[in-house]
């Protein structure tokens, strides 16, 4: 067989693989959106879910998902940034750094159900909070942190070395160089990474089953006092998120329209994650343009 023929075969095999991947993804996405889309309307998105009767919505779950996501990012971004800066700029190559890196990698590949069990021990039992939004957000922080550290470290490392040299050669201190040269240059990739991580956090269920719980108390959306038990902002109340809701109605739902609710919720979840991904791309490139062009 001559090399031209082999080349052609190789090319077609890769096209075939690519086509398979695209077909599976488009098929899956299309199936979920096709089945769920008809269910989507304002009422479904805003009304509370029902326990027995048909016609319940996902309002509380949607709110819970975004609230937990928000809290998780509030915890993760500063920690991840700090860890990433340390790993990229301060950690000296050696045993300690290797040990830290191994820990981060192990943590990143930890199954989320294990993180859920850890969360149950730490944030539910040990703290005595019971199932709570805060516990869920902390469990998701554990889940998300290694990824954020990696994202920040990689983003800082890809900033060109000569930029850093230029700054140091002007007599600017290491910390100032990080702050004024490295971080701005790395910001678009960090932002993109953070938004992508948000998509992952948004769709996470297993880590929340035993930390944020499977129920949501009756919420009064006109009460924004975070210390009140019926307030949606109260971080010590249990909160079922959208991903958990999908799992819950499918396994133990007593409502007659299980299928519709699950389809609708799945579509909302997928569309949200899709929006996160598109946002990541758009905002990332927009910020990059803004930073590199005029001030």
């Amino acid at each position: 067989m001559n090399s031209k023929v082999t080349d052609r075969i190789a090319t077609s095999i890769f096209y075939l693989i690519a086509a398979t991947i695209v077909t599976v993804l488009v098929g899956l996405l299309g199936y979920i959106i096709f089945h769920g889309f008809s269910k989507l309307n304002l009422e479904f998105l805003t009304s509370p879910s029902s326990s027995f009767r048909a016609g319940g919505g996902i309002g509380n779950q949607l709110f819970n998902s975004f609230y937990i996501l928000f809290l998780t990012m509030v915890f993760t971004v500063p920690l991840g940034l700090g860890g990433g800066i340390y790993m990229a700029e301060y950690a000296r190559p050696g045993r300690l750094t290797n040990a830290i890196r191994t820990c981060i990698e192990v943590l990143a590949s930890l199954p989320s159900i294990v993180i859920g069990m850890f969360g149950l021990l730490m944030f539910v039992n040990l703290t005595g909070w019971g199932y709570s939004i805060l516990g869920g957000a902390l469990a998701l922080t554990v889940f998300n942190l290694p990824v954020m550290v990696r994202v920040c470290e990689d983003a800082l490392r890809t900033v060109q070395r000569d930029q850093k040299e230029a700054s140091l050669a002007l007599g600017i201190t290491h910390w100032h160089t990080i702050k004024t040269v490295l971080l701005p240059a790395a910001f678009p990739s960090i932002l993109t990474g953070a938004i992508l991580a948000s998509g992952r956090v948004f769709g996470e269920a297993a880590a929340l089953l035993f930390t944020a719980g499977l129920t949501t108390p009756t919420l009064d959306f006109s009460n924004w006092n975070p210390f009140d038990s019926t307030s949606p902002l109260n971080v010590f109340r249990p909160a079922e998120t959208l991903a958990v809701h999908i799992w819950a109605v499918n396994t133990q739902g007593l409502i007659p329209d299980v299928r519709e609710v699950a389809d609708g919720s799945s579509a909302v979840l997928i569309i949200s994650v899709l929006i996160f991904n598109l946002l990541a791309r758009w905002i990332g490139s927009a910020v990059h343009k803004k930073i590199t062009a005029s001030k």
Binding site: D162, Q163, L170, G171, T292, A293
Partner: protein
């Protein structure tokens, strides 16, 4: 006459017995060197001879490389840089550097030049504007960019970027400018512009220029040092190095017999 010689021979850097190791490798061997005021000192030699290493010792940028050790003396402004007590911020304000590849920050032209003075504490807009204009005029870039100071520096040509980097370096008012092969990534016309610029700048600054281009050394420098395998083989007035070198190895190198 004696007086004239004394002022002419005023040095900014005095280097004695400088040794430098990368880990266990001795990269600079027992260098004795002096850099004179308001002159261009060229450093030539084949790749790997230690010329880039040497120039990076003068602002201690070499210390950013892990595993570097030095002994001897690098005397600048009445202190030995090697004793570890030097304030790097002060030193690098006074000893600026321009790199092989133009490395402007991905910011506006104005921000690039104002960056150093700003971080060193200058806040007043008027004063900053003045410094930016003067620095850009000094590198003959002002007329080319004055209408687009707020556009990205990355939109400039390679030669303009390199002149911008020189402007950025002189904006902190240094005594010395180190240039590490400043034209090796540039086309001939941009190269000539940088050389002319260097000749202008030596009125106010002392310049140390590493170059692999011997014609360049011959064209612009007052003194030339020839490095080979970490040793300073010969250091003399440029005319002497190129017309009557005392060392056979220098002669072989400048006549193109090796390197």
């Amino acid at each position: 006459m004696g007086q004239a010689v004394l002022t002419e021979e005023k040095t900014v850097f005095d280097i004695k017995n400088l040794n430098l190791w990368y880990g266990k490798n001795l990269a600079l061997k027992d260098i004795d060197f002096a850099i004179y005021n308001n002159e261009i000192t060229a450093i030539i030699g084949p790749s790997g001879c230690g010329k880039s290493t040497f120039i990076k010792t003068l602002n201690l940028m070499i210390q950013n490389i892990p595993g570097v050790r030095m002994s001897g003396e690098i005397n600048y402004d009445h202190q030995n840089l090697i004793n570890g007590k030097v304030d790097l911020v002060d030193l690098r304000k006074k000893v600026g550097m321009v790199f092989q590849k133009a490395n402007p920050f991905p910011k506006s032209i104005y921000e690039n030049v104002a960056y150093g003075p700003k971080i060193h504490g200058l806040k007043k807009k008027g004063k900053l504007d003045e410094i930016v204009e003067r620095s850009l005029r000094d590198v003959f870039l002002w007329d080319e960019v004055k209408d687009r100071l707020n556009t990205s520096a990355l939109g400039l040509s390679g030669g303009q970027q390199q002149r911008l980097c020189i402007a950025r370096a002189i904006a902190t008012k240094p005594d010395v400018i180190l240039m590490d092969e400043p034209t090796s990534a540039l086309d001939p016309i941009s190269t000539i512009k940088i050389e002319e610029l260097a000749l202008q700048l030596k009125k106010d600054y002392s310049i140390v220029m590493v170059t692999h281009n011997m014609q360049q050394a011959a064209r612009v420098s007052d003194r030339t040092a020839f490095f080979l395998m970490g040793e300073l083989i010969e250091y003399a007035h440029t005319s002497k190095i190129f017309s009557a070198p005392s060392d056979k190895r220098t002669e072989d190198y400048v006549t193109g017999r090796f390197g």
